[in-house]
Symmetry: C2
Subunit: 664 residues, 2 copies
């Protein structure tokens, strides 16, 4: 076995004895060890039965993270314990729980409660639901998540995007003011189906579906939704009574202008003052992350201050609308309000699926972010089950869609939360509020809720990221824009759907129009690289080396045939123009051809036929495992005959050159 | 520059001075030339402006075959001539036309005419249209194709699949017996839109859309359609009068059984006799391809014989239904029957698009097949324009959807056709038939048309190919089955749509669940290959080398993070179990990562972070051009720091090993 490898010049130099100027001028012949180069065989992957390969594919698709690896080689009792811990992570951390952890969790729990109460009320309004539903939704779901969830930092409750989408989709069919009970029923039903959908995704291990909401899609979508939500708040901020029920930017703006007479200056003054206060606290917390509690406490402070103001001046502030009476007491059961038949069932299911997928995306992304910061892992599919169960249970206890909220989790994390106990503390605080403090919200002005919402959603407009997309990946930037404008001018669902379509189109276009590159040899090495990119890579006389960078399949088999013929035609023209040595062999480097189908196999045969008619020999190099299997089982290799398949480009050239010599 | 390359064992052996048993036992240290290995820089592709790269992508997507390359560096007049020849290929071959060619074309033209006349009548019935429309459609379109088309062997006319689909889609909305005029209008309108759609695809150079009908889809779909068509012919074969208008297999079979009383034994006897005759001639021609003319002449022979039989026994054969009166004369204009508004416009457009795409697929595939046999090339986009114009013109001259027919083209080719003149000869024969011979069809029995259709479509069931799919590619087999059963049990359009969805899903699954493989070094070389496939590939101590075989993008960035962590965990377990040397560096071979997006870039950063927390160093190897560009522009490389990017795995190992030595 020769370990000192000859370079390509040497091999070609030693074997090609045609006179050609290019060869003499640009190719250095290496002296020294004259060599026999060993030719390696291209192996087939180990044989597998159909059942084995289906099983392997199945486990790669559905169990890529091998979630059961901890269970291997364990005693039955240990397996049972591990299973219990798997489904109820509380058993995992519960046994090590200490007073010290409790202290951290109480502090962070109280901190997020101060954020959760005003947010709950505000986001419920965003979904056109009574404010109390927002508080109910901050009580039951966090408790369930504390038992089922595996993230230690997720702050659970209603979130702005899912609230907006639910409000926008349901309002298209049912008016929340004209038919409040039906609307409420639909909201609970949608929540139930969101939970069913989320749990199913988790159980069927289809969690990867949420990956199809790519980051550009989400950034564009969220920014669009934030603009829509902010515009909607003009109703509250200006004190408008008769506002358009539509969401599109054009309708909202024209409605604002046409209702100019309804504007109330008291509301505007109060709203603007508190909005400035909230934005200022947000600005402080962004500049100095240690002061995160300032922006966390600001909403509750605003609610308290504004309520006191309205109460004190109640004789003079009839123009400022307030929340009014909220019933005291715990979440009433709502299972009887679920709606399993009738005309509106379809919209409830659709809303459930869309809000379900959006809230999963937020919850899991937030969970992963904080897990990565503290170096633990989140099992996406398991989280989906936790969030799904939480929503199914929520729909029976007067809650609407909840998930891990970004703002709450960030505050939770910064306040030093250690385990899901902080969610329990938050829920307990909400419980006390529900039982005793509800009358205090009577004078809370609606305008303050609008200001809280605007402050929350403005943070969702991530223009810096959009600028980064433009710099790094124009297509991602376009996807982001499509999502943004789709949401603004069409509808929330359409914007999302189109952006997902655009993202998927990118994958398809990558396959439909794959890159093919001409390779040359880097002198003195066995390295073959793109001649357009590596200045020192030189073409090897008599050979034309092409690398295909994509699976070969139905979507590109015609294209590749045409494109390769064009490469060959252009190479012929180049050779004639430069008076170089004629092409004899075309080498297809299949290293980056990660898969092939029957159309692709036929394309290879067809390309070979076309090249043979022009008296070129086609040689294949380094097919990956499954491509090799199919080349073999389709008998394509038989057709190619011997010596048409090599492990490396270098070996192909060495061996073919030797054979040219013999032929001559 | 050192041209004698050290092998990897040498580099590792020379640099790693930790004692480890594996190293001593399994890695041979090569003596001889001790070496300095040159480290090559990974280059960025040449700088391009945004405009340049958009222009480049645009031309790769829409002009991959560089259709204008002949026009480069030509004089204006030559350019004009070439342009004329481009759009009207008749100017290309017309000038060289000779008597010898004419002789061949006349013979083949007459041969296909003898097939075209009975086929035209039969296929029109398949589309629920009057038989005469089939003859009209064999007159105008072939003439136009002769001027515009670039295939020399395509036999143009109505085809079974498009006829069936048009019949099935239109009959869902309008009954061809109750409202024949409306039905006819819709058929012409659908034909018009098919032409518009086809021309647009060609002009917009979107021809690649037809590639999405993969071969398995087409084979399954065609077989399903052939079964449906054959079952439909039971009406004619059994002489049933009241037949179900539905297409699904269940409806048809129950309709056949429930109408048992209507069966006419005379029809059955005649139908079966001629069916056996036709199938026998088909069998002969398949066995001895030189006798192709036997099966080509059989349909006309059957029509003539059966017509004579019915005429002779006309007193006794009232049970056998005949075609009846057909008007003499040329195609009447039908532009006034096109339908551009009203309730049925949507279905006409939909039918036009579906039949348009199906007939394009057949026409272009057939054209390519025969072009490849005679070693010339077909420009798909230009053919689409030719076929589209032919259909638009056809819709104004009482023709329905036509394209290059497989059976006609095969006969045409075998009969020695040299140019599109054979289509002109065929059209002339049809002209004579239309002008003078129409009364002869009065007594032609409908049962003979049914027998002709059955014989034609049985040839479309390509079960051998389906068996090949099973052997070579299970997923392709499944796609084929889905198309087949979808057509049989749902509907023609649904079957097609689902099969296309299944094909696209395969591409997406390839990206969503890409293969990652562990690489090892083939001793004595710089080759790194899958350790699971190449028995002699051995892992390099201290290194763990992974190759990712797919673009890294939103659809797989989460998966890859999890999968790589699992690989690392399993490798750690393996190292502990085998008491091998600890892993220090993880090398990601990006050779087969053909693209990356912003999600993918973040995944790389995230993977690096996760590995760093476990004190592993991450090194990237050989990113392709556009991946390198994005790694650079997103500043990911900056984050990785120096010495984290190599051109080959071998160089990475050599350099890292040297550095380990220094660190120790």
């Amino acid at each position: 076995m020769a370990s000192t490898r000859p370079s390509v010049e040497e091999m070609v130099g030693g074997s090609s004895n045609k006179v050609d100027t290019v060869h003499e001028t640009s190719i250095r012949v290496n002296t020294g060890s004259s060599s026999t180069m060993e030719i390696h065989k291209v192996c087939l992957p180990p044989n597998k039965t159909t059942f084995q390969s289906i099983k392997h594919n199945f486990s790669e698709i559905f169990f890529p993270d091998d979630p059961l690896h901890k269970f291997k080689n364990q005693k039955p009792f240990t397996k049972f314990l591990l299973g219990l811990q798997y489904f109820f992570p509380i058993f995992q951390w519960g046994s090590d729980y200490s007073l010290k952890l409790l202290k951290s969790d109480v502090i962070s729990g109280l901190t997020i409660a101060s954020l959760a109460i005003p947010q709950g009320i505000s986001y419920a309004k965003l979904a056109n639901l009574p404010p109390i539903i927002g508080l109910y939704s901050s009580f039951v779901p966090p408790l369930l998540y504390a038992i089922l969830g595996s993230s230690r930092h997720l702050g659970v409750g209603p979130v702005s995007i899912a609230s907006l989408v639910m409000g926008s989709m349901l309002r298209e069919v049912v008016s929340p003011t004209a038919e409040p009970i039906l609307y409420l029923k639909l909201a609970f039903t949608a929540t139930f189906f969101a939970g069913v959908f989320q749990t199913s995704l988790g159980l069927l291990r289809l969690g990867f579906i949420i990956d199809f909401l790519s980051k550009p899609t989400l950034i564009g979508f969220t920014a669009g939704a934030a603009v829509i939500v902010s515009l909607q708040q003009l109703k509250g901020m200006l004190g408008i009574v008769h506002f358009t029920p539509k969401m599109q930017i054009v309708n909202v703006l024209s409605s604002v202008i046409s209702t100019e007479k309804e504007w109330s200056w008291q509301t505007v003054v109060m709203g603007m003052s508190f909005l400035i206060f909230l934005l200022a606290t947000r600005h402080i917390s962004i500049k100095k992350p240690k002061l995160f509690w300032i922006s966390a406490a600001a909403p509750l402070t605003s609610v308290i201050l504004s309520t006191i103001l309205v109460y004190v001046f109640r004789a003079h502030t009839s123009a400022i609308s307030t929340i009014g009476h909220l019933p005291k007491g715990l979440n009433p059961p709502s299972a009887n309000m679920l709606y399993f038949s009738g005309t509106h069932l379809a919209i409830a299911i659709k809303t459930g699926i869309v809000t379900g997928i959006l809230s999963l995306t937020e919850g899991i992304a937030v969970g992963r972010t904080f897990a990565s910061l503290r170096n633990y892992q989140i099992d996406g599919n398991k989280e989906m089950i936790a969030i799904g169960v939480m929503n199914m249970a929520g729909s029976c206890t007067s809650c609407y869609v909840t998930t891990g909220s970004f703002s709450r989790s960030a505050v939770n994390f910064n306040a030093g939360a250690q385990t899901a106990v902080s969610n329990i503390v938050m829920a307990a605080t909400v419980l006390i509020t529900l039982l005793f403090l509800m009358p205090l919200f009577y004078y809370t002005p609606n305008v303050i809720l609008a200001a809280i919402i605007i402050t929350a959603v403005i943070g969702l407009i991530n223009y810096q990221e959009a600028i980064k997309f433009w710099k790094v990946d124009k297509y991602d930037f376009m996807t982001c824009l499509v999502a943004f404008f789709g949401v603004l001018f069409l509808s929330v669902q359409m914007g999302l759907a189109i952006a997902v379509g655009v993202s998927v189109l990118k994958i398809l276009m990558n396959v439909t129009r794959p890159t093919t590159v001409v390779l040359g040899n880097i002198p003195g090495t066995q390295i073959f690289q793109n001649v357009g990119r590596y200045g020192d890579a030189t073409r090897v006389p008599s050979f034309f080396i092409l690398a295909i960078e994509s699976p070969i399949c139905f979507a590109n088999s015609t294209y590749l045939q045409e494109r390769i013929l064009r490469w060959v035609r252009e190479e012929e023209e180049r050779i004639v123009a430069n008076k170089e040595q004629d092409m004899k062999t075309i080498i297809l480097d299949l290293t980056a051809v990660t898969a092939i189908d029957t159309n692709g196999l036929e394309a290879i045969v067809e390309i070979r036929k076309m090249l043979e008619k022009r008296s070129y020999k086609l040689v294949l190099v380094n097919p990956v495992g499954q491509v090799m299997e199919k080349l073999e089982s389709s008998r394509t290799l038989e057709l190619f005959g011997e010596k048409s398949l090599y492990l490396t480009v270098g070996e192909a050239i060495a061996d073919m050159s030797k054979r040219f010599k013999i032929e001559i």
